[in-house]
């Protein structure tokens, strides 16, 4: 399965993300989910970024809205725009999951 997972929260109350597997997974950080790309709590990367085999993306508009810039984004994460998200959904992944 080729799955694009959207994370829009920083503190998450469900654990589906940890358990879901996909042959190809894209993790798109939007809304408050962008904090996974920029905050190092107690000096450590967000555990979200350790999802094995996944590609990580963060929405630039939501970064800037919250006072961050692309320069502060973890090197594992690619900064993208709305058009890129559309391309990921329509071309690169078969299914989406908004967690």
């Amino acid at each position: 399965m080729k799955l694009a997972v959207f994370l829009s929260d920083w503190r998450r109350t469900e654990d589906s993300f940890e358990r879901i597997k996909a042959d190809k997974m894209g993790v798109v950080l939007v809304g408050n989910g962008i904090y996974h790309a920029v905050v190092k709590e107690n000096g450590k990367d967000s555990p979200v970024l350790s999802k094995a085999g996944a590609s990580f993306y963060v929405l630039s508009d939501d970064l800037e809205t919250r006072g961050y810039t692309a320069a502060q984004v973890n090197s594992k994460v690619k900064v993208i725009g709305y058009g890129d998200i559309v391309d990921l959904i329509m071309n690169d992944y078969e299914k989406t999951a908004w967690l």
């Binding site: 399965m1 799955l3 469900e14 589906s16 597997k21 999951a97 967690l99």
Partner: protein, 137 residues
């Protein structure tokens, strides 16, 4: 297109948010969706409760008595009545200390033949791969 399978995944407990209820009411709406579809097309929903969402399937809910609103239990029983598979994640039940006898297992009083299935997350994952679309609530 023929039959399109949809997996509704409920991750949150009931009542604080409308989300779990909307998962059930949307899934049940598959029964009448044919009015908008071409001949031969259909949608085949499955609803799976995972994480804290398994708390939706605890039996003896009294929402109608207390608040005058349809309980989530009522919607789950209606789902069984229309032969819509209702799955509950076993590992999450265990984590929350829930036993099968605390859960909604059937709706025989309404004439439903289908029973709730208690499954592993691995089975739900397999279904995620098999369906056409995923709807997380």
């Amino acid at each position: 297109m023929g039959a399109v399978k949809l997996l509704f995944v409920v991750q949150r407990p009931p009542y604080k948010s409308e989300n779990p209820r909307l998962a059930l009411t949307h899934a049940i709406a598959s029964q009448t969706a044919e009015i908008y579809m071409d001949d031969g097309d259909s949608v085949v929903p499955i609803i799976a409760f995972v994480g804290d969402g398994v708390l939706n399937a605890v039996k003896d809910q009294q929402a109608m008595k207390i608040y005058g609103v349809t309980s989530t239990e009522d919607h789950i029983k209606n789902s069984l009545l229309i032969d819509m598979p209702v799955w509950v994640c076993k590992e999450d039940m265990q984590r929350l200390g829930l036993k099968e006898d605390q859960m909604i297992t059937e709706a025989e009083d309404r004439g439903a033949e289908l029973r709730t299935k208690f499954v592993s997350f691995a089975e739900i994952q397999k279904e995620m791969e098999a369906v056409q679309h995923l709807l997380f609530f």
